[in-house]
Structures are given as C-alpha cells and as structure tokens.
C-alpha cells in the first residue's frame, strides 16, 4: 500500500489556482521531495496531505485512508519550518505531546520519549527547556515529536530552512538515518536543490500559477526505484560521498533544468 496517493488534486483559494491536476504516489518507505519556487503550491500540497487544507477537487489517500481519518489515527507526523516547541514543557514533555493528546499513560509515553530522544541523540537534554537548545537541536526535538506515534509517514515543510548550512547538512544526514531506522516514508518540502537531491529517492519539481508538477527526477538513486533494494546507500556515512559523487551533480543539473523549464 502506498503511503500517499493523490489523483487529480486541485486547490483554489478564491481566484488563485494553487494546485492543478496533481498526480503523485509516495510508496511506503520512500523519500520524496517537493521542490519549486515560492508560490508553486508545494506547501499547500503538503497541507492537503496533512488534512490542514481541503482540496477543491480530486482524491487524496494517506495510508489508504481519507486524510481526515489519517489525521485522527495519527498516520502521519509533521514538522514545520519553525520547530514550534512548547517552551513551558521540557524536551521530554514536548516529544510526548502527541501521545499525551491521545491519552497514552504517563509511564508508556515516558519510555517512548526516551527511545526517541536516543534516536535523535538528545538523551542528555531530556530535562532541558527548549530555550536552552540551539536551533538545530530544537528541530531534532520537533522531528522526535513527529515520530512519537510511530507514523508510517513523515511530512516536513522546510524543516531545515532556518538553519545554517553546516547544521543543515548534519541534520540531513540525521534525517536519512532516522528515516532508514524507522522505515517511514517522507514527503519533504524544500527550495534547496542540493537538499532535495541528497535526501530523496525522487524529486518532484513544481511550477507556479497554477501549481503543477512539471517533472519528477531521481535523487541519489537516479530514476527512483525500490528504496529497499540497496539499504546501504542510505547509510549516513555515505551522504558525504553522495555530495561529491557524479550522479549527485548530474541529478542537481537535471532538477535545475526541470525548474527552469517549469518557469519558461
């Protein structure tokens, strides 16, 4: 079963045609990036999947369910550009929030939060307040929070957009490792071409007015393919090799040309 499937999705905000005839399927465990200039509707598309916006037309399925049901069942976890941590709660309590909202017992959510903080490498900050953490660490807490209910799908809206370049590259490696360890599919909105290419199995290129998909380019693995066929290429150690490899630059060029074509 696919993690996300979109057929003929349209979204209009009054006169503005934000999304036009979107056809897209994200397989389970697949990492797909949405890239395009501002106003191309990539964030809107993510929000439609998250049931934070209703499509004007078309069908959306998340984990085989209607988006509203998927949201109620916590089929997805979401991370925004701002970490959006609740500053009066400790790091642990922030990670627990989705479980707390859904009524899990305190002992069980404590245990789950401890697991997740280990996954994102923040165990020693479990009792800290968000204000004591750097931007990158706060974003890791937000990712841990998104993963708390063990979703099969992670939705990310430019989560590293506010971070400096060094932190950003480290976070990308972390995210790839986490995606591999959890086996979750990821739908990732970005406007950084290298970020999209280095992270993704497939890069979905979008153009504005109306927002539509103009091309789909293979990322690290040109041409896409089954993400489980070669798990070693997801190893975080390899990400630095990927950044310097020929296929990486070829993919960057392909995405850049697709973006230019979409603009023309």
């Amino acid at each position: 079963m696919s993690a996300v499937s979109l057929h003929g999705v349209d979204k209009r905000f009054g006169e503005v045609h934000a999304l036009d005839g979107i056809e897209l399927t994200v397989d389970s465990g697949e990492f797909v990036s949405l890239i395009g200039p501002s106003g191309c509707g990539k964030s809107t598309l993510l929000r439609v999947v998250a049931d934070l916006e209703q499509p004007s037309a078309g069908t959306v399925a998340v984990g085989g369910k209607a988006p509203r049901q998927a949201r109620l069942d916590q089929e997805y976890g979401i991370a925004f550009q701002q970490a959006g941590l609740l500053e009066w709660r400790t790091v642990t309590e922030n990670v627990e929030l989705p479980l707390h909202v859904h009524g899990m017992s305190k002992a069980r959510r404590r245990a789950r939060a401890a697991e997740l903080l280990e996954l994102v490498g923040l165990t020693e900050f479990a009792g800290s307040r968000p204000s004591e953490l750097s931007g990158g660490m706060q974003q890791r807490v937000a990712i841990a929070r998104a993963l708390a209910p063990s979703p099969r799908l992670l939705l990310m809206d430019e989560p590293f957009g506010a971070l400096d370049e060094m932190t950003r590259e480290r976070m990308q490696a972390e995210l790839l490792r986490i995606a591999r360890e959890t086996g979750a599919a990821v739908l990732f909105v970005t406007h950084s071409i290298p970020e999209a290419v280095v992270l993704s199995d497939r890069v979905v290129v979008m153009s504005p007015r109306p927002g539509r998909i103009t091309d789909i380019v293979g990322g690290r693995r040109p041409g896409g393919g089954d993400p489980t066929d070669d798990p070693t290429d997801l190893a975080p150690d390899d990400i630095e090799d990927v950044r310097e490899s020929g296929t990486f630059f070829a993919a960057i060029t392909a995405v850049r040309e697709a973006l230019r074509k979409g603009h023309g």
């Binding site: 609740l86 929030l97 909202v101 204000s131």
Partner: protein
C-alpha cells in the same frame, strides 16, 4: 544582585534623607509642612506595634481583594476567550471600568455595606485589580503562535486539549504580568479606600486621623508603613512572576 547595583540607589536615598534633615533643621521648616526624618523615625519606633497591626489589616484587605480580583479577572478572560458573544459584551465593560476612578466608589460602598465591615475596602481593591488582570490575561489567551495552532490541528486535538496544552500555559506570562501590575495597585486602593470612613483600624484611617490631629510626624510614620507595604506587594508580585515564567523566552 551585585553591590555595584545596590549601592548607588541606597547611597542616593541616604543622601536625600540627610539633605531633608539638614533642610528642616537649618531652614526651620514647620512640622505641618515637613517633619524631620529623625522625628518620623522616632514615631516609627514609638508606634511600631500599632504600625504592624494596622499594616496587617490594610495588607489583609489588599490581599483578599487582590486574590478575589485576580480570580475574577482570569475567569472573565477565560469566558471571553471561549465565546465571541461574552467577549463582545464583557470587553467594553471592563475597559470602561478601567476609566472609572474606582476609589471614588469607596464612600458609596461604605454606605451600602455599613461602616463596621471590611467589605467596602476589599470590594474597591477587587475592582481595581480585575481590570489589569483581565486585560493581560485576555491578551495572552489570544496570542497563540500559528505553528502551535497547526500542530494541535495535525494532532487532531479537541478545543479543550488545545486550551489545556497550548492556550492556558501560553497565557501564564501574561497573567503573571497582570498580577505584578495589580499587586502594588491593590495596596494603594486599600489605603485610599480607608480615607472615606468606616473602620479605623488600618493604615489609611490612621494617616487621616493623625493628620487631622496635627500629629504630622505620626502621619508620616504611617505613610512610611504604607510605602513598605506597597513595596512588599510589588516584590511578591515580581517574585511570583519570575518563579512561574522561568525558562521562557517571551
């Protein structure tokens, strides 16, 4: 707090008191205009037990009114945040109340409730406190970060969960700011309300009776006690605010 921060204001205060003393003695200022600090200090020593007991009465009134007004202000703000209709009715009324010189109501309340009870003073304090607490709490409840609202929607949180996890804790710094502003105002209201008759057991009534009896230094001793009480409430409010907003950036 370091000595370099404490020392200058303390030195300044002592210098002012010394200049005051010199001015009164050298220029021969009559006591009804300005008694000497040493004369006031002597009265503070002589009247110390009375000062403490009257300060306790006035402080008690201020505290009861502060708590009642605080609870009322927070509850009204919660109601206003929960319902558009309540907000539309309540907000203008409370804001209009902020323009009313509330201590002016003290003689009216004394007539209403009689002069043998503390209720009129406590009621005045309550009304003085409600306004700033309501205004700042209402503002805090409205200020939800969009990212937090989105997050709670994505978690399929109910309106009550949204209030419990985000809105109420998010409003705490605003509520505490309201309390900090209201605390010294509560003392002012409690003292001034006593000027308009009723029981003669508090600081305000002692100030007015001492002044009426030409015991100027004694009147000033009670003024000094009022200042001390006001500072105590101010510091308590500040401390409560600090304690409850630790670790926050806003």
């Amino acid at each position: 707090m370091t000595a370099s921060r404490v020392l200058p204001p303390v030195a300044f205060g002592i210098a002012v008191l010394a200049a005051w003393e010199v001015l009164v003695v050298v220029a021969g200022v009559p006591a009804f205009l300005l008694p000497a600090p040493t004369a006031i200090a002597a009265q503070i020593g002589a009247q110390f037990d009375v000062l403490v007991s009257t300060a306790a009465v006035t402080g008690g009134n201020a505290l009861v009114g502060l708590v009642a007004g605080f609870v009322l202000g927070v509850v009204l703000a919660l109601l206003a945040a929960g319902s558009r209709l309540v907000s539309d009715v309540l907000t203008p009324v409370v804001l209009a109340a902020s323009a009313v010189p509330i201590v002016a109501l003290a003689p009216v309340f004394t007539t209403m409730f009689g002069s043998t009870t503390e209720i009129p003073r406590r009621l005045v304090v309550t009304l003085v406190v409600v306004v700033p607490v309501f205004v700042s709490t209402a503002r805090g409840l409205r200020q939800v970060q969009p990212v937090h609202a989105e997050l709670m929607s994505s978690l399929a949180a109910t309106p009550w969960q949204h209030a419990r996890f985000v809105r109420l804790p998010g409003a705490v710094p605003f509520v505490m700011t309201g309390l900090r502003l209201a605390a010294p105002a509560a003392v002012i209201a409690a003292v001034v309300a006593e000027y308009f008759g009723g029981l003669q057991n508090g600081l305000g009534s002692r100030i007015s009776s001492a002044a009426a009896n030409t015991a100027y230094a004694r009147a000033w001793a009670f003024v000094a006690a009022s200042i001390a009480l006001g500072l105590l409430f101010h510091l308590a409010g500040l401390l409560a605010e600090r304690l409850l907003t630790r670790g926050r950036t806003t």
